[in-house]
Amino acid sequence: MNTIRAALREVVGLFVDDGSLALEIVAVIVLAGISATLFPEFPLVAGGILLLGCLAVLFGNVARAGRR
């Protein structure tokens, strides 16, 4: 039972370590998804939001962690 619990914890931990990083990534993906849905004729806008948003999230999250 403990092994199963540890395995489940490990599976969740694969993707979520710092909760705020995971939430910010999801927010960027949602924004990109909204853009792709509203402006399907400009898919690269969604791509740009996704790429630049994730880079900004990474940089901001690490900078905050460094200040803590």
């Binding site: 490990e10 993707f15 370590d17 990534i25 790429l51 994730c54 900078a63 962690a65 460094g66």
Partner: protein, 248 residues
């Protein structure tokens, strides 16, 4: 249209699996040191067989998922997984988080098993095998995820070959040297694998959203270069306040 072929997926799977295999080997070696190779080997074998069962069970299900949905889901998971690795590697490079030390992990695991030996002498072989099983299963789960994710829409062969190559290499070296592989530059590997997985994550998530990336697969290289540049800048930024504190 120019494509990159299988090289990026194979390389990413190889490097990521190298890190995970080294971590699993450290525990298996600790078990072997305290209780011998029999429980260590049996536990590792049971862990490997469990992983094989998971792959056999999940693999065929993936063929039934529509490609765009599969690309999107895998892309999102890869982004979360890759950026998590990259964040941790950046913080370790900046000295904010301490480096992973295989020698220390080996010493801790050995001490814990020796302590268990004193308390549960009769059940020790079972406990030792269980520790070995858990190490292979839990670290192996990450390898399985990486292989499945990197194979999205292109077949398991290339990333599976990379992962298998890394596991065989680490197992071979481990059997020869009988010591944890503390010299593997784990954080550097995690840094570059985090960059690669994040780049793949952006690519697949975008494809899942209907984005036709300029240059097709070549875009992955551009994304990786961008992530690498931002990650290096983030190391400098995360380090700066600590240096200022030290000077004041």
């Amino acid at each position: 249209m120019i494509t990159l072929g299988y090289a990026p997926a194979t390389t990413a799977a190889f490097l990521a699996s190298l890190v995970e295999a080294v971590e699993a080997l450290t525990i298996v070696l600790a078990v072997a040191t305290v209780r011998g190779w029999r429980p260590a080997g049996l536990g590792a074998l049971a862990g490997f067989m469990s992983l094989l069962l998971i792959v056999v069970a999940v693999g065929p299900l993936l063929d039934r998922v529509p490609v765009h949905l599969l690309q999107f889901v895998i892309g999102v998971l890869l982004l979360m997984f890759g950026m998590r690795w990259l964040r941790k590697a950046i913080l370790r490079s900046a000295g904010v988080v301490s480096l992973h030390d295989e020698a220390a992990v080996f010493a801790n695991e050995t001490a814990e098993l020796s302590e268990q030996a004193r308390r549960h002498a009769t059940r020790l072989d079972l406990l030792a095998a269980l520790a070995s099983f858990k190490a292979v299963l839990l670290e192996g789960l990450e390898v399985v995820f990486i292989v499945i994710a990197l194979s999205a829409g292109r077949g398991l062969l290339a990333p599976a070959a990379g992962a298998l190559g890394a596991c065989l290499l680490v197992a071979g070296v481990g059997v020869v040297v009988h010591r944890p592989l503390a010299r593997v530059p784990e954080n550097t590997l995690k840094f570059f694998v985090g960059v690669l997985l994040s780049a793949f994550g952006i690519f697949w998530t975008g494809e899942g959203l209907g984005v036709a990336w300029p240059g097709a697969d070549l875009a992955i290289i551009a994304f990786a270069a961008l992530f690498l540049g931002v990650a290096r800048a983030a190391v400098v930024v995360a380090r700066r306040p600590r240096s200022a504190e030290a000077l004041s």
